[in-house]
């Protein structure tokens, strides 16, 4: 069946297209306009904006940690908003897997990446992902606090050994890439270490956080993984931690590196409270480091929960929990901390955080390298995305918000002086081809013939939040799934994974290791396709090797 969208403004930065025109797709793929031009199904989208489906590169949507968050905060679900078009009461947070897929699709998102999958909990992560409808998904496998890797580094084994281990873990867990979270910090915390920086060493291993990051970066690069090493730096949330972010950018040494939720590292120590935004300095460094990509992790005001495998950070933040409860999980390698939090406009620190994120967006110059996230739910729930886009695109709206925030907070940022407004093309770049390229998804994030027919259509509005909150039409693999912000179909997508080659010996070595260390077979961490319970649940993404 040939579907045609006519008369829309098609914004496709990957292919240099920003013009009114038609879009055609058939059998789930974009196609050229057929000669003779008979379409089976035609949508008149004159006056509307047509983009590829949006891609979220860092959002905590699935896994045992997310379910812990759900179980910890039933009150987020009891607080109901009756805004859903079908008049079903909509919880304010702690969304289940089905709600997650629908809420993302309603905003025109068609691919979302879970950034923190613990290898020993990979099966649960994939089970949860498989119960999220509509969107395609992927998960990044967490390494960097695991005994095997730290032991390899302590023993100064070869880069090949690290490579094989990374490849084995990726294949077993069906990850799309590697995530490292406060490298060595979770392990150090088990030894009662209470702070951990880039050049601190993990007790018992004598290996520094920097060495762990470098070893993983090298392995990722040598394996030809499409996604660079995805780094959650040390010292998240601490005053003056801009130095950590800058040091980590330097540590990349010209090789690709992705820094997660950079806003949480954009803090200086200036001003009467010893806490300020250092986002301007950080943005300058990001602009200069062309091999580095970042996602912002924007903070927005309201009640949320922080879900993070940075056990040390979450433990240190436990007394700021709002409401006052938390879960700290010392897992087999990384674990998790679940700490509810309420970002308040009246709070000096939260206001600085809010400003710092916007400064990062507005002071960086390359939408191909600065990606759009809230580190859901840690900065804000992903449902805040439309409001953030509005703030980026409308300086008057920003000024209105700034006027409601503590003046002393704005005084330690430069946000009030920034006049830049994001264009639609920049928004499109940041949310479509940029994440697609970074994930190695060659047939997504753009609308050239051959691309997957993941298409989002928006009705332009002066109120940009309104425009992006409820897409006029969303197609997933060519099937209409959303109309006027309401989900009308719930097909299930797939999880992307990479299957890099590893030397045969690693299988035996890992079996011996798990037997010696745990007295168990490593089969418990595998993700057999048959266990997922849905047809065709995975799609392989190629490595460049």
């Amino acid at each position: 069946m040939l579907t045609r969208l006519t008369g829309g403004r098609v914004i496709d930065p990957a292919n240099g297209r920003d013009a009114v025109g038609d879009l055609h797709f058939r059998d789930g793929r974009i196609v050229d306009a057929p000669p003779g031009g008979r379409a089976d199904e035609s949508y008149d989208v004159s006056g509307k904006i047509v983009m590829a489906g949006a891609i979220d590169i860092h959002s905590h949507i699935a896994g045992n940690n997310e379910t812990l968050g759900r179980l910890l905060l039933p009150e987020q679900r009891y607080a109901l908003d009756f805004v859903h078009p079908g008049h079903m009461p909509q919880p304010r947070g702690a969304w289940n897997t089905f709600e997650t897929g629908g809420l993302y699709a309603a905003m025109g998102f068609t691919t979302v990446v879970e950034p923190a999958m613990l290898p020993h909990h990979a099966l649960q992560a994939h089970l949860e992902l498989s119960d999220i409808p509509i969107i395609d998904k992927a998960a990044l496998t967490v390494l960097g606090n695991d005994d095997f890797l730290l032991s390899l580094l302590r023993a100064k084994e070869s880069a090949a050994a690290v490579r094989d281990y990374v490849a084995w873990t990726l294949a077993a867990s069906r990850g799309l890439g590697i995530k490292v979270i406060n490298a060595g910090g979770a392990e150090a915390f088990k030894d009662n270490v209470r702070s951990f920086s880039l050049d601190d060493e993990v007790p018992a291993y004598g290996v520094s956080s920097r060495a762990i990051v470098k070893a993983l970066q090298r392995a990722v690069s040598e394996l030809g993984l499409p996604h660079p090493l995805h780094v959650h730096c040390n010292n998240l949330g601490l005053a003056g931690n801009v130095e950590t972010a800058l040091a980590t950018i330097d540590a990349a040494e010209g090789l690709p590196l992705h820094l997660a939720h950079l806003q949480f590292y954009a803090y200086g120590k200036e001003g009467p409270r010893g806490f300020s935004s250092a986002a301007a300095r950080l943005a300058e460094a990001v602009n200069a480091a062309k091999h580095v990509t970042v996602d912002v992790g924007q903070v927005m005001f309201g009640q949320t929960v922080t879900i993070s495998c940075d056990v040390l950070r979450q433990f240190n933040a436990r007394n700021q929990a709002r409401p006052r409860k938390y879960v700290i999980f010392d897992g087999d390698s990384n674990g998790a901390g679940i700490v509810p939090y309420d970002y308040r406009r009246s709070d000096f620190y939260n206001a600085v955080q809010w400003a710092a994120g916007l400064e990062l967006f507005l002071l960086t110059d390359d939408p191909w390298r600065v990606l759009f996230t809230t580190d859901h739910p840690n900065g804000a729930p992903f449902t805040a995305y439309p409001d953030i886009l509005a703030l980026l695109m409308d300086r008057d709206l920003r000024a209105q918000w700034i006027a409601t925030l503590p003046a002393e907070a704005m005084a330690v940022t430069v946000l009030p002086s920034i006049t830049r407004e994001y264009t639609l093309a920049e928004v499109a770049t940041m949310t479509r081809p940029a994440p697609a390229r970074l994930l190695g998804l060659k047939d997504r994030g753009h609308l050239a013939p051959g691309a997957v027919a993941d298409v989002a259509v928006y009705t332009p509005d002066r109120d940009k939040a309104k425009m992006f909150r409820a897409a006029a039409l969303v197609f997933k693999n060519g099937e209409l799934v959303v109309r006027d912000g309401a989900v009308i179909a719930q097909p299930f997508g797939r999880a992307f994974d990479v299957r890099p080659e590893a030397a045969r010996e690693i299988e035996r070595r890992m079996r011996d290791y798990y037997d010696a260390r745990y007295g168990l077979s490593p089969s418990f961490l595998c993700v057999p396709e048959a266990a997922i319970g849905r047809p065709d649940p995975f799609e392989a993404v190629s490595c460049s090797r």
Binding site: I328, D330, G519, F524
Partner: protein
């Protein structure tokens, strides 16, 4: 071909499925209970409960909720069996029922020749197990546990305490050991403790982390309870029990407790699932009942369908005590048995298209 019975007489699977679907469709508020099934069965059961607008509960949800009430009330610090085994230099076992909850616990934790100190508070019937390990300290009887824990917590915080069932010097020595542990782990079985006791224990664990490292290992109830709770968490956004009678998932531990729903007459049809052993419902009242059971001979339901044992007769996904994770469990001795998930899918397919409100 799976064995099936309608009112005690053997029947074809298709007839039993049709009868089951008919009973469920005709009911006002059906309840899916027991829920001793694998992850696939739990996913199917949740979907069916939603379709029916009914309630769903696990036979051990009360025990799970004791831990959950502590967690969602004031939080909790937890770790894994692997970490307890590899890193735990002091284990604080609390209360009875641990050996029953984790049969491999002695082998996993007690058998590595003195590399850790172990104290067992109030083991009750588990005293037999404790007695096999002469180096293990055993203190107190189950009735005294709440006071002993409170006193221990106070001593660890440097506060004086009055007399308890445990001698003052023993209590002080234990408090010192806890405070000096490098990575201590407390273990308990919620099925055998009450919520306030668990709250006190988890509070003690949190207190100890102000100066050292300490965590907790709650041992899961049987019948795949922990995995089924995770399934409800991610699919419903809530733990069990849950009810869909108003068209969306609601959670209320009292309102939707399966036994209460049946005994009160609010539920008028029950679908009981028990794949891991011959467990029967706790309620006494009679109502139209469908049973999916691995050992059906003991059940007197209107419709009985024999189903396989997960991880034995067929591949399954379920909770692995050794790692406290959800894992793929290949069939140990594959048999031609109907997985509960398939039986549930057949029942769902046999329901009339639109269910009247």
């Amino acid at each position: 071909m799976a064995a099936a019975w309608i009112r005690g007489k053997t029947a074809s699977l298709d007839d039993a499925v049709a009868q089951a679907a008919g009973l469920l469709a005709a009911s006002r508020l059906p309840v899916i209970a027991g829920l001793g099934t694998d992850v696939a069965g739990a996913r199917a059961a949740v979907g069916l409960a939603q379709r029916l607008g009914g309630a769903i509960d696990h036979m051990h949800s009360a025990a799970l909720l004791r831990n959950l009430d502590v967690m969602r009330g004031s939080g909790m610090m937890v770790t894994t069996p692997n970490e307890a085994r590899l890193r735990g230099d002091l284990l604080l076992l609390v209360g009875p029922g641990l050996a029953e909850a984790w049969a491999e616990m002695p082998e996993r934790l007690f058998s590595d020749g003195g590399r850790r100190r172990i104290a067992w508070l109030c083991p009750g019937d588990d005293a037999k197990t404790a007695g096999r390990y002469p180096d293990m300290r055993v203190l107190g009887e189950p009735d005294d546990l709440p006071i002993i824990l409170a006193a221990l917590r106070a001593r660890c915080a440097g506060q004086p305490v009055g007399q308890t069932a445990v001698a003052a010097d023993l209590l002080a020595a234990l408090a010192a050991d806890l405070t000096n542990a490098r990575f201590g782990v407390a273990l308990w079985s919620a099925a055998h403790l009450d919520t306030l006791t668990i709250d006190m224990l988890c509070g003690l664990v949190k207190d100890l982390n102000s100066t050292t490292r300490f965590s907790g290992l709650p041992l899961a109830p049987p019948d795949n309870a922990a995995a089924v709770q995770q399934v409800s968490g991610w699919m419903n956004g809530f733990p069990l029990p849950v009810c869909f009678a108003r068209g969306f998932a609601e959670h209320d531990p009292w309102r939707f407790d399966a036994t209460r729903l049946v005994e009160s007459g609010e539920a008028d049809c029950a679908l009981w699932i028990s794949c891991y052993g011959p467990h029967a419902p706790a309620w006494k009242r009679e109502l139209p009942t469908i049973a999916l059971a691995a050992a059906p001979s003991d059940l007197h339901a209107d419709v009985v369908i024999a189903v396989g044992q997960p991880g034995i007769d067929h591949d399954a996904v379920g909770y692995l005590s050794a790692t406290a994770t959800i894992a793929a469990l290949p069939a140990r001795s594959p048999a031609d048995a109907l997985p509960a998930a398939e039986a549930l899918a057949m029942i769902a397919a046999a329901l009339p298209a639109a269910r009247p409100c």
